[in-house]
């Protein structure tokens, strides 16, 4: 039977309904993924089609489920930091920071301004890197190969800076509870500043390749429209929520890590279609550059970890090797973990994909009793059954790319 979605035109619908039974179309079922280039990982969408039109979409997630929450209950707080890299693996530095702040809130620990500034700079760099990949991959999804080549060149420059700072390009594991793994290298902030300066004109060029591109606009404008009400009802966050016109940005509304010291604008869409979400991400990169430049301009001196938190942050390596007290302190930290009070906290950070939340339940000691990861990609994908219905099959590719999800985070 033909459905309401197949015939927006009432006359055509009536004519189809009146047609003899042998002319009625049959529904087709199509499984897209788990390894489909536009599903950006291992997402499967079980679709029901009427011709080219999707009448039902059921996303099947969980192919990348590793049980991170179970693992977290069995290791100390610091041991879990590398696992946060593998949530949204396109922005590990931002995940590291969100996790560290959540546990620090549990310990009621304030990190020094220099540490906060380092975290802000790295998180914003991670945001640029994640959006660049999202943009490049989205370009490929809708038929624009060139964008990808430029965005990956810029990402490579960012990775060089990440490598210099953390020792790793991809899985950075940079934060510790109460600080970061090491201070910034000599001259690193200058090189980040230089990157920002050369990046801005290139970003404009990259965006110019798409923003008024006829093919790109045909594929995205008025496609996958998500209303304000739906976006909130499905718990969308990040660029996907702002694309629908809700100006919620946790960096502005619930400032953490000193974000209130920096001036930046929150980009908001007007219609909630794929094009708006693209525009929001483009603008966010400009704003990230603004934040980084401000943070570098007033980069504070002083300690880069909480020096008074002796039961949480490890002492400097040279002290461990030469002083008995620091050796014992380090031994206790490694074997028993950073000591936390009993209680529960929930902290959400504004990550590239949306609000990444950590709900930590502690009974005291160095191991969490329960750690829940609120993954923005999981919530963002839950709207698929709603937004795909009535769209063409080719639009599904557009919609998936515009939601910009990461399965590592969705499945945990």
């Amino acid at each position: 039977m033909a459905t309401d979605f197949s015939f927006p035109d009432a006359g055509a619908k009536a004519a189809a309904a009146a047609a003899p039974a042998e002319f009625q179309t049959e529904k087709m079922s199509l499984s897209m993924g788990p390894s489909h280039p536009s599903t950006h990982g291992v997402l499967r969408i079980q679709m029901e089609l009427d011709g080219e039109i999707v009448t039902k979409a059921d996303p099947v997630v969980g192919y990348l489920h590793r049980g991170d929450e179970k693992i977290a209950e069995n290791m100390t707080y610091n041991q879990f930091v590398p696992y946060t890299d593998r949530l949204d693996y396109l922005a590990p530095l931002a995940n590291n920071m969100a996790y560290a702040i959540a546990v620090e809130r549990l310990a009621k620990l304030e990190v020094p301004p220099r540490c906060q500034a380092i975290r802000v700079i790295t998180a914003e760099m991670a945001r640029i890197s994640a959006h660049l990949l999202g943009l490049g991959a989205y370009g490929i999804d809708v038929g624009a190969w060139t964008v990808f080549l430029y965005t990956f060149t810029e990402r490579e420059k960012l990775y060089k800076l990440f490598e210099e700072l953390t020792g790793a390009r991809f899985t950075t594991s940079y934060t510790r509870i109460g600080g970061v793994a090491r201070d910034v290298p000599e001259g690193w902030t200058g090189r980040v500043d230089a990157f920002c300066d050369q990046f801005l004109p290139i970003l404009e060029m990259i965006l110019n390749l798409l923003t008024r591109n006829k093919i790109f606009m045909d594929r995205t404008v008025d496609v996958g429209v998500i209303s304000k009400e739906d976006a909130i009802a499905y718990g969308l966050t990040g660029p996907n929520l702002r694309g629908s016109g809700v100006p919620l940005d946790l960096r502005k509304d619930k400032p953490y890590s000193g974000y209130d010291q920096y001036e930046f604008d929150v980009a908001v869409g007007s219609k909630g279609d794929c094009y708006d979400r693209y525009l929001v991400r483009g603008e966010e990169m400009r704003q990230s550059v603004r934040i980084i430049k401000q943070a570098i301009a007033k980069f504070p001196g002083g300690p880069w970890y909480a020096t008074d938190a002796k039961r949480i942050f490890a002492p400097p390596k040279d002290k461990i090797l030469t002083s008995m007290e620091e050796l014992i302190q380090n031994f206790m930290l490694v074997t028993e973990g950073p000591q936390m009070p009993a209680g529960e906290v929930y902290f959400e950070a504004e990550n590239p994909k949306g609000a990444l939340g950590f709900y930590v339940v502690s009974k005291g000691g160095g191991v969490p009793w329960r750690l829940k990861i609120r993954a923005p990609s999981f919530c963002n994908l839950s709207i698929l059954p709603k937004v795909c219905v009535g769209a063409m099959v080719s639009d599904v590719v557009s919609i998936l790319g515009s939601l910009d999800f990461v399965m590592g985070e969705c499945d945990r």
Partner: protein, 207 residues
């Protein structure tokens, strides 16, 4: 519509059965499981807690009663405040709370995940299937009695099993980064390798 900051006081006046919950950050309340939809609806309509950020559960371990607590985190997109609502499940053996899918469509997947991981049923949920594990999976992995290594489980597709003999086997725990279990006195038992259920020096790796 009132400010989200006054929510807990007004909530306790309106629902006498609601009590304060200890929390290190946001305001938090304990609510009887049966009242969850009414309380959340009231919070959404009167205090603009319009975004359901997260639904999850805590297992307080076997033998503890109440064993399961379902936790909701609400966020106000206009008032920029969080609120935590927690509900203890009345039954420890067959835990159940009412579903809030009618209030937030996004609760659908969150509740499916809680069911998948803890086996807590959500009464009135339109489609309570497993979400991360496969549909036939017999265990609830985030319950405390479920071992970290996993449990040997047949794969769902009989054709694949007949062809390959593959099954989901427990992960090796040897050399893992896991710490000794807290609270245990006997070090041999508390060591990570004691949790290893698959293969170690004494037992060879299964085929």
């Amino acid at each position: 519509m009132s400010a989200p900051a006054d929510a807990t006081t007004a909530l306790k006046a309106r629902f006498p059965q609601v009590t304060d919950r200890a929390s290190l950050d946001h305001p938090a309340v304990n609510v009887p499981a049966a009242d969850v939809p009414a309380v959340l609806k009231y919070l959404r309509e009167e205090f603009a807690f319009d975004l359901l950020a997260d639904v999850t559960a805590i297992d307080w371990a076997e033998g503890v009663s109440p064993r399961f607590t379902v936790v909701y985190h609400l966020l106000s997109t206009t008032g920029h405040a969080y609120l935590r609502v927690a509900a203890n499940c009345a039954s420890d053996a067959a835990p159940e709370v009412p579903s809030v899918v009618d209030l937030w469509a996004g609760a659908n997947w969150h509740e499916r995940e809680v069911y998948d991981m803890f086996g807590i049923k959500f009464a009135g949920h339109p489609d309570l299937r497993r979400i991360l594990m496969w549909d036939e999976y017999p265990h609830f992995p985030l319950r405390k009695e479920f071992p970290l290594a996993g449990i040997e489980t047949p794969l769902p597709d009989p054709a694949v099993v007949a062809e390959t003999g593959a099954k989901a086997i427990p992960a090796p725990m040897m050399g893992g980064p896991f710490v000794a279990a807290p609270g245990e006195i006997n070090l041999t038992e508390a060591e990570p390798r004691a949790k290893d259920e698959s293969w170690n020096e004494r037992r060879s790796k299964p085929e």
